[in-house]
């Protein structure tokens, strides 16, 4: 078999793993029904049975007042703005007060200035992970064949379970939805439920990155960013900031820049380029250069951009004081 034939056979094999499209089809039909203003019963049996007497499917349904008295949800999620100067920082809206033994937090991500909020916090211990997402509620829960309707602290929730993975999604207010995912535990469902019930408003936690864009080409929004602290391959702290993706009606590849400030670049050597007065490297849309403190700035452009643009973006990147971020690697 030639290499070409083998590659074709490999892709044909990948296609064997295609998920059943029925869940997507159902979601589209549901949205279409809502769009047309029809009253529709999703999960005609299940949800109606779970939410006794509640016919307004898709809306938050308070079943009973059984919320843990220590749990509070923010009535609204304040969307932080991109400040004019200084480090980029976002307050994290939610925290769990219960976590399985051993996990440590190494990921925080938050949007700034976006029309809708997106936040992520993740805790890991080897193959075990707990991830808490906060996002915009778009009018329906995750609907597929494995979804079970339940409640978290008296609020409508959707539960999806696999052998060692469990996900619970629930409405914390009419516009925001939380999602808790537990992986790698044999009792993931029970743990997920316990962690989800413990999730409450967080008044202290934040994520902060010491890098920010100085110059960006025209058309790239300067007031909408996503920032993140994530673990590198050796458990090091990676800082990341990305501009909002600029979609166009023609669906060209969206223009977007993401910048990492990392102990070690993940890119292979490329063409030498002078940037920030030092020799950097350019390879396939990624420009990297070592900062004076030994760490690396790595800029990636989603769409094709002239090298001169990438060089100017990196030249004008601003690096601020090292943020505390002392939550990294702790519970």
């Amino acid at each position: 078999m030639t290499q070409d034939e083998l590659i074709r056979a490999a892709f044909a094999r990948a296609a064997d793993f295609t998920p059943d499209e029925q869940a997507v089809r159902r979601t589209l039909l549901e949205r279409d029904a809502k769009r047309r203003g029809r009253r529709t019963m999703l999960f005609a049996g299940g949800l109606a049975a779970a939410a006794t007497g509640a016919a307004a499917v898709g809306l938050p349904i308070v079943l009973r007042s059984s919320r843990d008295p220590d749990v509070t949800y923010p009535p609204d999620i304040p969307m932080g703005d991109v400040p004019a100067s200084g480090n980029l920082r976002a307050a994290m809206a939610l925290r769990p007060t219960y976590l399985p033994a051993g996990v440590r937090e190494t990921v925080r991500m938050a949007s700034l200035g976006m029309p809708t909020v997106t936040q992520v916090r993740s805790w890991f211990d080897g193959d075990v992970s707990v991830r808490l997402d906060l996002g915009h509620y778009e009018g329906s829960g995750p609907l597929d064949d494995t979804t079970r309707i339940t409640t978290i602290n008296g609020l409508t929730a959707w539960s999806n379970e696999a052998p060692d993975e469990s996900r619970i999604t629930w409405l914390i207010n009419p516009r925001a939805v939380a999602r808790l995912t537990v992986r790698g535990l044999s009792d993931a469902a029970e743990v997920a439920r316990r962690v989800a019930r413990s999730v409450t408003a967080d008044r202290d936690a934040a994520v902060e990155v010491p890098v920010r864009f100085g110059w960006l080409p025209a058309g790239i929004p300067r007031d909408q960013m996503t920032i993140a602290v994530t673990p590198g391959p050796s458990g090091d702290r990676y800082y990341e900031v990305a501009t909002a993706s600029v979609d166009s009606d023609t669906y060209e590849v969206p223009r977007q820049f993401s910048l990492s400030f990392v102990p070690k670049p993940e890119v292979s050597a490329g063409e030498p380029v002078t940037v920030r007065g030092r020799q950097g490297s350019y390879s396939r849309g990624t420009l990297s250069v070592q900062h004076t403190d030994g760490r690396w700035l790595v800029l990636n452009a989603a769409a094709e951009e002239p090298l001169s643009v990438l060089v100017r973006v990196v030249n004008e990147v601003q690096i601020g004081p090292e943020p505390a971020n002392d939550w990294f690697g702790t519970r």
Binding site: Q3, A10, F11, R13, V24, R31, D32, A242
Partner: protein
């Protein structure tokens, strides 16, 4: 063609396409769902195009290649459900599966180029249009991907000896 007709006729094929491009079935489902929701909202425009499926495939590619998705991959959102390394009945890992794992490890753009060329039978010009880059860039992605696969294949062969 109405959106409902498009979904009825093409959704299964789009799911296969997304699965092959992403090498990650759960991600493929997420990507297709997000894209189809946006396509539904813009169907007045998309449905009037000459090749709505081509357009939707571009949306799927762009969604997959977007920074948000790549970030999600880094923090463990993705499932490594595709092809666990399990020996077949003869005690040998199937050659296709081994190659597919190597393909899944390629950078996303390189993987997308191979999927479009070998699964979707697209020309370099079509792939360039889908990815929004030049044909030279497509050829560069392709040659780098094939070189990486050859190197990886040779290394596996050495390890097996």
């Amino acid at each position: 063609m109405t959106f409902e007709e498009f979904v009825a006729a093409r959704l299964a094929a789009l799911m296969r396409y997304a699965t092959v491009v992403t090498c990650d079935p759960p991600l493929a489902e997420d990507v297709v769902q997000d894209v189809m929701i946006r396509a539904q909202q813009r169907w007045d425009h998309i449905g009037a195009l000459d090749k709505p499926e081509f357009y939707v495939k571009r949306m799927i590619l762009n969604e997959f290649l977007s920074w948000r998705r790549r970030w999600a991959a880094r923090v463990g959102q993705l499932h490594e459900t595709l092809l666990p390394a399990v020996p077949d009945h003869a005690g040998l890992v199937d050659e296709r599966d081994a190659l597919l794992r190597q393909i899944a490890a390629l950078p996303p753009r390189q993987r997308a180029v191979l999927a479009l060329r070998y699964f979707d039978d697209r020309s370099d010009a079509d792939i360039a249009a889908l990815l929004g880059c030049s044909e030279a860039t497509v050829r560069s992605h392709s040659s780098r991907a094939l070189a990486a696969l050859r190197a990886s294949y040779a290394k596996e062969g050495e390890l097996a000896r």
